[in-house]
């Protein structure tokens, strides 16, 4: 039985009563941009939501709470790795675990497969083209739980997710003739126009 090292990891909380995808209702009727000046109304990313409990239990008040649990609420941000990690000093930088079937990168982070590459991940929510499919949300939760029970301190990113925000701490890496950006434990590839690049999480180069 693996030695469970539970890290407190309430990352953008897996909020159960919330819609898992933006309720892009108006988007379903198609992108008819004929309204002129400023375009059409569309629900973008969520910026806030209702609380579904008035009193949630405070942290760490339980008998048997595992000592040393780190609350890492802000750690899981694709494209924005934890700011207190120094990429130059990352001792595990080259320690990519290449065993078949194992996706652990940098020794103590886990990169989890998302469901396809068309999604966009931000701060605890996975946005995908499927508005009525919560598979990604669940897989993400599974990935986080997997990371936690494996003793990972941070779940780095979901492969296939992309962001327009340049991640922190990036260093260019060239492997097998392909250029990557290696940012705080996660590999990205840049694409799109230079005015508005997209950074997509990719698997570590073999």
């Amino acid at each position: 039985m693996r030695n469970l090292k539970i890290m407190a990891l309430a990352l953008g909380a897996f909020a159960l009563a919330m819609p898992s995808m933006p309720a892009d209702a108006q988007n379903r009727s198609g992108d008819k941009g004929s309204h002129g000046g400023g375009g059409h109304a569309k629900a973008g990313k969520p910026t806030g939501h209702a609380k579904t409990s008035a009193n949630r239990a405070p942290a760490g008040n339980y008998a048997g709470n595992r000592g040393g649990g780190v609350s890492n609420k802000n750690a899981y941000k694709a494209g924005q790795a934890s700011s207190n990690r120094n990429p130059g000093n990352n001792p595990n930088r080259n320690n990519v675990n290449r065993k078949g079937g194992n996706n652990v990168v940098a020794g103590n982070t886990v990169v989890v497969n998302g469901n396809g590459g068309r999604g966009y991940y931000d701060n605890g929510r996975y946005y995908d083209g499927h508005y009525d499919d919560d598979d990604n949300d669940f897989l993400e939760f599974v990935g986080k739980t997997a990371a936690i029970t494996a003793g990972a301190s941070v779940v780095a990113a979901v492969i296939g997710s992309s962001t327009n925000q340049k991640p922190d701490g990036c260093q260019p890496v060239n492997a097998n003739g392909t250029s990557y950006m290696y940012c705080n434990g996660t590999y990205y590839q840049q694409s799109g126009p230079t005015s508005q690049p997209t950074y997509t999480v990719v698997a570590p180069p073999q």
């Binding site: 990891l9 898992s20 209702a50 609380k51 409990s53 079937g101 497969n113």
Partner: protein, 265 residues
Amino acid sequence: MTIPKSAALAQVATAALLLLALPAAAQTAPAAPAAPAAAPADVLDPDAADALNRMGAALRALNTFEVRSDATVETVYEGNHKLQSLSRTTYTVQRPDKMVVDIKGDTTHRRFYYDGKTMTVVGMKIGKYVKFPVSGTIAEVLGRAYDEFGIDFPLQDLFRWGDPSSTVVPPVAGFRVGDAMIGDTKLSQYFFRQPGVDFQVWLEDGTQALPRKMVITNTDEPAQPQYVAYFTWNQAPTISADTFTFTPRAGDQLVDFGTAKQTVK
């Protein structure tokens, strides 16, 4: 949890509080100082504090029960669009440490089984599930699920108020709003304020002060999104030997944490 009467620092008469809460009264007030009517002082009215105690007692008295919440949930999106979605949550509980929670929304359906030692989380639509060890009373496990796994169960108040081992800080303000009816049931509506949250509960009048409706307003957000839930209580649910055990359907897959870390496609 009990709210000590001493916490209710009622320096303003209850009647005055209610008067201030009624907009019509302000308009018919006699020529008064030019300043607008002051907001109600942040006072926890003793009647309201007592109502929370009665609700807590009613919840604690339930040992085996099922409560269903039909809720509208507001989410604010970019562009300040505040959209509602629907959510039905059913808690089937056998104290102290067994429950199954079914949460079905517009786009998701999840179920959580807890049998005192393991929590099984099922993605009902995706057909995958995970298990992890956890123990404690229901209130403890709901809190631990949040702290350790980021799972935010709705309506934890029903278990925190109802659990003698949990600690709930009394609200900073509260008052009885007035009478209400849901169907033929007479209720009393109360308002409470805490940092970051206003909430209202509609409690059954009579000996069992169960909540029938609850509104939680997120006052940390400028748009103040709300969660509005109507409750249906079943105090004699059918419980069988495997109510709190997940029986996988054909095609359901246990996600072993080893396989969750798969090679990239």
